[in-house]
Symmetry: C3
């Protein structure tokens, strides 16, 4: 029997206006009153897999080892899409087979994958529209009590969706194509371009028809009201405006293309 791990983290697009999240917690505590539930976010945009995958990737490594992540952005609920239980060295993920785990899997090794789409041992009926309540929550609760995934499903053969973030190496490649994967509450536009810790050399960043040419270390550094780029707290290139919303200023949307061109230092220095 696996080790008990009381922490269950929830990431969904269920929002706060419904009782869906509360119901899942009720189910979990009914099965394992010792569980400890942490909300990652429930405001992931409905059915936006890239964003959900980003939120999960940005968060999971900060959780206690052993945490069971329940990840539900699931437009395919009720259809033939599968539900996987994916184990890594430190964590367990319950996810629909739709790519929510793709950025996590780009940087961590998988130890086991189980198809838990139809965990036969549950006695209650499974609805066609709320697997969060009827499959994910009871599964998470029982895993948190130390039961093994093999009790609930078979090892899955399917290859999992993996997507690498785009690593920017100023000394190697001069042009990068990325995309908008998240817009945060402050209107900062988060991209899938992973920046080095050191400041970029001279560059041009293009978002639709906007050009950004200035990088700052933190938001309060710039007062001009110009668009700037920042290396965000997860290392990703963010487009930002001091005390304003870059998303509003640029009308950026999830999925939009972002291009980063590094300009030759030598040429500039000696021109």
């Amino acid at each position: 029997m696996a080790k008990k791990n009381p922490f269950i983290a929830l990431l969904t697009d269920f929002g706060a206006a419904d009782a869906y999240v509360g119901i899942m917690k009720g189910v979990i505590y009914s099965i394992n009153p010792q569980a400890r539930i942490i909300d990652v976010s429930h405001e992931s945009a409905p059915q936006q897999i890239d964003q959900a995958a980003f939120l999960l990737w940005s968060a999971y490594k900060y959780f206690p080892a052993g945490t069971i992540f329940v990840c539900i952005v699931d437009p395919g609920v009720g259809s033939l899409r599968k539900i996987f239980c994916v184990q890594t060295s430190n964590y367990t993920f319950l996810v629909p087979d739709n790519g929510m785990l793709k950025f996590v899997l780009g940087e961590t090794q998988v130890k086991g994958v189980y198809d838990v789409s139809k965990p036969k041992i549950f006695s209650h009926p499974v609805s066609a529209t709320f697997h969060g309540r009827d499959i994910f929550a009871p599964l998470a609760a029982r895993l948190s009590m130390g039961e093994k995934p093999s009790v609930f499903g078979r090892p899955a053969k399917a290859s999992l969706n993996v997507e690498l973030l785009v690593s920017v190496h100023p000394k190697r490649v001069m042009k990068y194509e990325g995309k908008v994967i998240h817009i945060d509450r402050f209107g900062n536009i988060v991209t899938n371009l992973l920046l080095p810790e050191s400041r970029l050399p001279k560059f041009r960043c293009l978002l639709e028809k906007k050009t950004i040419e200035q990088q700052v270390l933190y938001y309060a550094e710039n007062d001009s009201g110009d668009l700037i780029i920042v290396r965000g707290s997860s290392g990703l290139l963010e487009i930002s405006i001091r005390n304003g919303s870059a998303a509003t200023a640029t009308r950026a949307k999830l999925g939009q293309r972002v291009t980063l061109e590094l300009l030759s230092n030598e040429k500039d220095d000696h021109a």
Copy 2:
């Protein structure tokens, strides 16, 4: 002395922009540090009793036995409206006397009702505008420590508001009048029509000037962009659009009338 039950579930219309919910939790933990608080939802639309009653009904049965529900959608705060402590076999509910419990009471037996509007034993002053902090939270905390409702109030004579959901029986009645009782985050329109588990025979569902004639098992089943009906996770008739908001498409509002007409099978089959 009653059994201790650490779980306290909160359902309010207090929203997230204020500290009201946080303050209630502070009060509860100050009295009972062992309490375990679960949020059902705090985004129930202000002062919409039908919706709050639906959210509570859809959720309560999934919570651990013994859970104490604190339900505050309470436009009458400070007035002469009463606060009741209602006990059923499995749960305790603290509610203003305004109908929030009406759908729950349509399906479960009441074991006891206490009028706890003015629990004299509290030493702190009671504000006229925040009974959540000054009455509900301390009451819930003390009940969770095993104190009995009779300590805080007298058995109430008042008859409680009960409302039955409208059960659809295709073999018995051919026409049903219902109403919109909730619109969820995805724009699904939830009605008070309780569907049977088996698929409906041929039907016509009317919402204002819109007619819906197709039923699906789950949201992803239909790709047409037409309005469809789904038997939601609580068994209620929901009006939906695949990958869109049915509420936006129909401009549906809480309280709006919904009519379901079942069409004779025989006639259709042999016409």
Copy 3:
């Protein structure tokens, strides 16, 4: 070594759409699995110090003694602004040095202030944009385990920002200048004018070009649709409309001036 205090309360402007709050909780539980985290609010308006200071002041006194408050409305993150650990008789506050604590400090005595801007003992790198994750959360977790603030920083010399709420004394002063410091979910406009428990004598309250002349004890008392004032649950003057949004009706904004003129009783009584 200080006493262990499991309760950590979070007040931020991080919102719910991002994983920022979830990440902070992950960090805290990773360090102290016994911690118990309470959300005060995460929807404080971005970068509105007055509002955050009000929310904190309205809430803190209802939390268990020993609670550690983590307060992050922090437009200056990454700049040279300091982070303070402020101790009072009952509580510990981790705050940027930007005034979030000003209303609390107007009514409670400070026992100690430490500059914890650069807690050297942490081994992980500190990002320039997410001190919540990299400084506040680990600090709170370790304080909750009984470590002393002096482990993480030096006593600070800086004088802290203090702002008194404006106490209304009908027998002493006849005219008061206040401001809007919060607008709640129901559209109630909260000011920094602290009312006495007894009803005001005849008065005139001015908000921009609107005049309010009626006071009620609770929201449901008035049915007219007129603007009214209420002594809110924290004792502050609130401008309200029964079953409507006073903020929408008046287009009130945070920071707007509010004037309260008490009119001579004698004159009125005998005129």
